[in-house]
């Protein structure tokens, strides 16, 4: 399954783009998405935490994903 991801904050730099697509296999849930992304972009894992928002709701690891979901990666931001 191919899904499109919107990037925010430092995730834009890490992905090198505002949007990327990933192919997911097996159990297609948020945990699987995070593993796939962190494999491809090790700097994402180094953030320690970042938010996965699915259809504008905070998603925990067990949430199943479908192709029509709007998925955003929103990392923490420190500036003031």
């Amino acid at each position: 399954m191919t899904i499109t991801i919107l990037a925010f904050g430092i995730a834009k730099d890490i992905f090198g783009s505002n949007t990327i697509t990933v192919d997911l296999h097996g159990d297609v849930d948020v945990a699987c998405l995070k593993d796939t992304l962190e494999d491809r972009y090790p700097r994402l894992k180094q953030l320690s935490s970042y938010m996965v928002a699915v259809n504008n709701e905070y998603a925990d690891n067990t949430l199943a994903l479908t192709m029509s979901d709007e998925i955003a990666i929103i990392p923490p931001v420190s500036g003031g």
Partner: protein, 352 residues
Amino acid sequence: MDKDLLRYSCQMALPGFGESTQRLLQAARVLIVGAGGLGCPAAQYLAASGVGTIGIADYDVVSVSNLHRQILYDPDDAGKNKAIIACERLLRQNPEIQLVPHVDKITSANVLQIIDGYDVIVDCTDNFDTRYLLNDAGVLSNKPVVYGAIYQYEGQVAVWNVVNHDGARSPNYRDLFPKVDASQIPNCSVAGVIPTLAGIIGCIQANEVIKYITGSLGVLTGKVLVFDVLSMQSRIVKIGATTKTSITELAQTVDVQTISPLALKRSIAEVQLIDVRTYQERDLEDIGGEHIPLDELEQNLDKLSTGKKVVFYCATGKRSAEAVKIVKDKMQAVDAFSLQDGLAGWSGLEEH
């Protein structure tokens, strides 16, 4: 209408916002932590709208390189404490309210005492340590925290730790981000920030404070606003009604050793001096020593001396303090110091 309310007549004309609502603002005590890009506009609008007591906490000094977004300060204020200048300026704007500067650095040792006198905390800080500290202190003290943060063209706003109708608490910062490796996220001086974003997000924070105090509908609890000022698209991400965290104590903040400009001047021949500013800043002027930008420090820890004191410096003493923390964490053998008030403090010395 009382004569003293004339100033507020245009907001009291709002539907559902009469004299009793204005009195709620007058009775409120709001602490703004961080008088920088977010704190300046937030404080400005809370003062203008008549919040009765406003505390402004910032240990840092005005720096020319922040004037593009810290709109309460003039170039003449460079080197002076931001909380004091901000309070002076806003008292001229609204002499009817109380403005209380807090010039000590907020730490795990003093945070509960400082926030004790306030009803609402506004998180306008520029670093993760203080954000977590304020969040946790808000939870432990049962006070809401109005959070704002900015990065390049993007901002986030939320209101943490509000008591829901059922008595449970709404989510807090740790529901969103349980912990962060601060060294992985560049700050404004490295990544840049558009000043108008700071204005928009700071004003939105002030707006949420007013909504919270006046009991308005639509306070940003249980959700976070994410705003992009390039596309002007904003989204509200729902987090849930109730926090899933259990915060029972404050994380201890790390005590950073500092050295005064005078003490550095007297011992400069005997220390390893390291500039942690960006290449652009280094190009302009320096006070000698080696140059290792903060974001390259972790890859260059082997360059630090274990035989003599290491003194880091930057523009204001803030990034050099981060450098000391990194060293304390990764290379305990090094005796690291941060130059107090940075180059601003050093040039103050030259002038005297």
